[in-house]
Subunit: 748 residues, 2 copies
């Protein structure tokens, strides 16, 4: 069970603690406790080996395709976390001997992960162990590990074996071939491997130091080389009460990096600073980040504060902020799930956070979408369309569409289920256009628009014009045979989300293009209207589908439980949604729908949604808040936090859910703080959950940082920039000069 | 600790028992308890998962090369042994809850492996588990698994998940890409994969049945498909005392098989017989094999009997007796070590067993050497020689030399140690010629010689003639820059073993060829003569090397311990041998050396040998027995048995040592029974160890099976064939007619 510091000391609420060890829960914890810096992601696999560990180390952008039968993915690089500690001949394992206690703590403030263990070996004795590690935020190639061992009751003989282990795979797929393995200068372990298809050189350096009671120990290092492994072993006796400290400093670099790295020089420099010095340097970088990115919540339940900081932590380690050749993986760099590919998750669920808090990062991510335009044009051409049709899944800049073709088992036929998203889940093209426009509005970055943005908007607009077809009967342009955001419905016509977003996309293009055909199609596109109950039909014929009792699936232990009873073809005929679809539309294009339509549609679809996608809950939170369903909104916020940070067993074994992290920010900013862009203007209208006393955070608007503080009485906005900005607080418009503060009382 | 049935009931001494569970020892046990039939080898990885398991399934001949940077090897095929048993939500693991008892038994007589476990889950209750499995000797594509679970103290909810797991690799190298995964007819799991370079299709079928208290259970099967995995899960409640029996029958076939297999049809047929019926069928095949292959020893210590049967068991599952496209791997099909490659081990250590007990198998193996002649000619040509220079390591028939280029770490330089055996360990060419001749002499198989044998002998003879160079100073032909069998000495000149065996090879070629040049070189080849102490120098300059105290290395826990203090370049300068070298020569070409030279040379080198090769001990046993050092011989026999069947921790994690198994047969037949071919005649002269009351076994001589029974008083030989054979018993020559028995008393 995960626990959190619920003390009142606000700054202490940065700690996620796990006080038990359960091998079954390790997968999820490896992802939750994942560390990184945007360049690399290191899963929190324990140093010693357990069955089922995923010892993942990913470097952004190192995509490789193992074989024609697979799609490209981020390869799992050789493991650096391994360290075997043998005490009097018995390898340390928490499943051996007696585990007196085990506590793990991820400190979100410093980025350090600590594990403290009290262990009795099978043959007696008592050991105190402390494992620490961090991924440097100051030096993106650097990882540090430290292990301290104390024989508490009697002396013992300790052997440490540690190294670079290239036997890891991506669930069995091996992307790397061995190139070089050697020991440099008697001290630095060096392994170079190369990806089999993309030919990327991956270099790993590691160096160990050994100290007893603070003094460097004169040890004999025995190099160990075997297939795909290079390590060293050191044996030494420990007196009762003595503490052995092992430090393992590592450097990871690749030939695809923005700039080359001299791993040996880096490790020599790192060795001079030691684990402690390097950690302090990295913690300082974290402190600087938190200074602008923190969201402070004074809440009855400390979980809320920690969960939001947890989301911010992951939002800042999943993205390489200065590299426009890479997107954000659906699992960040925290697991093999979704292969490191980028989806619409980035634009709809993550970009709002970056656009509103780190516009430079948002620009990098949108420039990535510009860099993959050629692949999008190719995909459009291959499908017989014009303009740019974005890949459903994207990897390296010239990969184009990389969606796999098959998924899990079909319960009825016994065959693999084909994955159609790469062909017909097309709304991503409109989603990217939406995000470009949102960025442009929020930042006023005309240079970006001139160089990149308008090209994306016009090319995607052209795509939709070629995608729509004329329906003689309706006398309208229609979009047939798509998958909307709700992926439990395949081959639908006129999905409301898709059609409205496509129309929005064409309108954006028309701001630049004088194209009568495009205007004609935009004007004539079929936009599903609300029915007599004020409910917008999700797609043609939705209302005629069979409704079933969803209770058991909505309360199921795991997502996708309905597939144990129905296959996708059957689910296609039921009024059941995987995730928000029309509801999301009601959030993104809120101004297009009257309040009553939003309310009725929300209530209708909410009852039919399983939230089998991690994208769903935050959207429901924000919409419920918009509709004044405050208790429901808070419950959905908590559910959104629990996607990756549950109190009980974590379910993130394949990696954390990147988009859900962005969703948590949306719950707080869009939802409880009422931050929203309305007709190009900034609106702030906080209405805090009952258990929250205050909320403070920053956003950036028109490149000016604004500090927002809210409580039950109202909101104060301080412009930390130098230029004036216009804001609308609870409907009150105000121009706030640089350095000035404006306060507004909450409406009664 | 391994234990053995030491009862007097002779037929019960077929059981190897392990009564503890220690995850560290599992690797060795997986190899010791390996099952197979020559077509496939299945390591004894436990059904549930533990860190460090090697879930190896190999099919002979399916060689694949992952990448140019690696050499070809036997790929690890998708795992069939996996089966996860979850009891009230907790997956069964012997490292979880309380392991009350665990007993494993390999029955060498039937080929069945059984594990009985009494386990208390962490939350209470008591389970009785029995796991059984076999690899069919009657149907080479078939494997059977059975699990029985009884909730002894209270009812429980059980979930079984089992399938085909393609995430396994060869220490991280993945040879297979996914082709097909599907469920056939709702019952048969089917996975097809293909090797990436050699394009071999590998097909795995698996089907489960579930019965409670003997009645088929109506269960709901939930198919589970994910990357490289296909399985099914079944959940059901068990009442107190009820027994769930799961049977998993599997079929493995490849597109490289001698004949295609219909896996679905095979599994339907198998399902009708059930685990029990299939096991009985396979046990009957084993019984037929034991009827001719068993060696019965009435010994004071039952270990001797079991160890010899253990060797015979592995000698009969490591070879595909009817397929001349494949050799025997240095680890058989029991582990990844040596990549499934064939070495001189086959000809010098294994073939004597087959030649003297299963001449058909010996012929198959020698025809394999004939089929790879082209690769041997290519290697000779590439090295600038004539004739056929056999690869040091061989794989598929057209692979040629497949020795890897690098090994473990060099303690001094920190670099990988280059492996030179593929270039300069050349004696294998003469070893193959020796084995061909031995086979021809023992069988009288002129047809084989005409079709295959003479071509091998003449081509290899030609190689040596081109390999030798004229030494003006010595006025002799010399062979410079080789590695002899003692691999701790690289780049030596005139290695005695190599030169004598090369000369022997040329003499054999000259029986067919009238080639004056060849004769001139054979006559003029430098053959190191004994020194003044009667010791044959291992190579030029050996006697001048430094002698060091080897005590600590000879008593080291693991082999290769000397490399912790010296690198290979340094060891090259010391009088220290990895293994028998000149001593082996004294056995193979015994008639060439006077008894005193054999004795003095043996004593000299024995003191300088670390036995860091598994090939060494058996040779020392036989030579010690020849020299009348009976106690020493018995000690070496026990040491040879302990290579793979130690009483304490097993060391065969990378696979059993094939050659050592052949060595055990040589200890018994060549050593204690004194079976030897002398000048083309069969000699039998038993002299049993002190602890042995009697010894009985069969050999085949001139295609006639002979039953040999020996005790302290003498020997009885019964000719079970129809044609007369000549034998020499304790120096007494006799002709034994078909059906007749001849007895001879041991000399006083």
């Amino acid at each position: 069970m995960l626990t959190f510091d619920r003390g009142t000391a606000e700054l202490e609420q940065f700690i996620i603690t796990e006080t038990a060890f359960d091998a079954q829960a390790e997968g999820g914890l490896e992802a939750i406790f994942c560390q990184g810096n945007g360049y690399l992601g290191q899963r929190a696999a324990l140093e010693e080996r357990y069955a089922g560990q995923a010892r993942n180390l990913f470097v952004t952008g190192t995509f490789d395709r193992f074989h024609d039968s697979e799609v490209t993915e981020l390869p799992n690089l050789p493991d650096l976390t391994n360290l075997t500690l043998t005490v009097d001949g018995v390898p340390f394992s928490m499943e051996r001997g007696e585990l007196v206690s085990c506590t793990r703590e991820l400190n979100l403030q410093t980025g350090e992960l600590t594990r403290r263990v009290l262990w009795r070996p099978p043959h007696g004795g008592l050991l105190t162990l402390c494992f620490r590690r961090f991924v440097s935020l100051a030096r993106e190639h650097l990882l540090g590990f430290q292990v301290e061992v104390t024989c508490t009751e009697a002396g013992c003989a300790v052997t440490v074996e540690s190294g670079i282990d290239g036997t890891v795979t991506n669930s069995g797929t091996q992307h790397l071939c061995e190139r070089v393995k050697r020991l440099i200068g008697g001290r630095i372990l060096f392994m170079e491997e190369e990806t089999v298809q993309s030919g990327i050189g991956c270099r790993l350096h590691a160096a160990h130091t050994f100290a007893v009671d603070g003094c460097e120990a004169a040890v004999r290092r025995l190099p160990i080389m075997r297939r795909r492994y290079l390590g060293e072993a050191v044996s030494l006796p420990l007196q009762k009460g003595q503490t052995l400290r092992v430090e393992k400093l590592c450097c990871v670099s690749t030939t695809r990096d923005l700039a080359p790295t001299d791993g040996v020089a880096l490790l020599y420099e790192a060795a001079a600073m030691g684990y402690g010095g390097l950690l302090r340097e990295s913690a300082a970088a974290w402190a600087a980040l938190w200074a602008t990115q923190d969201i402070r919540i004074d809440a009855r339940d400390g979980y809320d504060q920690v969960a939001v900081r947890f989301a911010l932590y992951h939002l800042n380690i999943m993205v390489k902020k200065d590299d426009d050749r890479v997107g954000i993986g659906a699992k960040g760099l925290s697991g093999e799930g979704y292969k490191g590919h980028s989806f619409w998750d980035t634009e709809i669920f993550l970009l709002p956070y970056y656009t509103f808090t780190q516009p430079d990062t948002a620009r990098t991510l949108l420039r990535y979408r510009h860099r993959i335009l050629d692949g999008a044009r190719r995909k459009a051409r291959d499908h017989g369309y014009r303009g740019a049709m974005y890949p459903w899944e994207s990897a390296w800049i010239d990969d184009g569409e990389v969606t796999p073709l098959f998924g899990g088992a079909d319960i009825v036929t016994g065959e693999c289920t084909p994955i159609l998203t790469g062909h017909i889940e097309q709304h991503i093209t409109a989603d990217i256009a939406y995000a470009v426009w949102q960025y442009a509005q929020a930042t006023g970055d005309a240079a970006f628009m001139d160089a990149f943005g308008w090209e994306i908007l016009t090319e995607t607009g052209r795509f939709w014009a070629s995608r729509a077809t004329w329906d003689e009967q309706r006398q309208a342009y229609v979009i047939r045979d798509v998958i909307g955001p709700d992926e439990y419905k395949e081959h639908v016509d006129n999905n409301a989300y898709t059609n409205y977003m496509a129309e929005n996309n064409m309108r954006l293009a028309l701001q630049k293009l004088n194209d009568p055909d495009l205007r004609h199609i935009a004007d004539g596109l079929w936009l599903p209207a609300p029915d007599e109950n004020g409910v917008i039909p999700q797609f043609d014929g939705y209302m005629a589908l069979q409704a079933i009792d969803l209770t058991r699936y909505r309360h199921a232990e795991s997502v996708g439980d309905i597939f144990k009873d129905y296959n996708l073809a059957q689910i296609n005929g039921l009024q059941v949604s995987k995730q928000s679809d029309t509801v999301l539309l009601l959030l993104l294009l809120a101004e297009r729908f009257p309040p009553e339509v939003r309310r009725q549609s929300y209530l209708f679809y909410e009852a039919r949604t399983l939230h089998d996608s991690s994208l769903s809950k935050a959207t429901h939170c924000v919409l419920a808040q918009d509709l004044g369903l405050d208790g429901v909104a808070y419950d959905y916020f908590r559910a959104a936090c629990a996607v990756d940070l549950p109190i009980s067993a974590p379910k993130s074994a394949e990696g954390i859910h990147s988009a859900a992290m962005g969703g948590i920010w949306q719950c707080v900013a869009y939802g409880f703080a009422g931050v929203r862009m309305v007709d190009g203007a900034l609106r702030i209208a906080p209405r805090l959950p009952a258990g929250w006393r205050s909320l403070a955070f920053r956003i950036v608007w028109q490149m000016q940082p604004l500090a927002v503080e809210a409580d039950a009485s109202g909101v104060r906005v301080t412009n930390l920039g130098s230029l004036s900005v216009s804001v609308c607080l609870y409907g009150q418009s105000a121009v706030i000069a640089g350095g000035a503060t404006f306060a507004a009382a909450a409406p009664a």
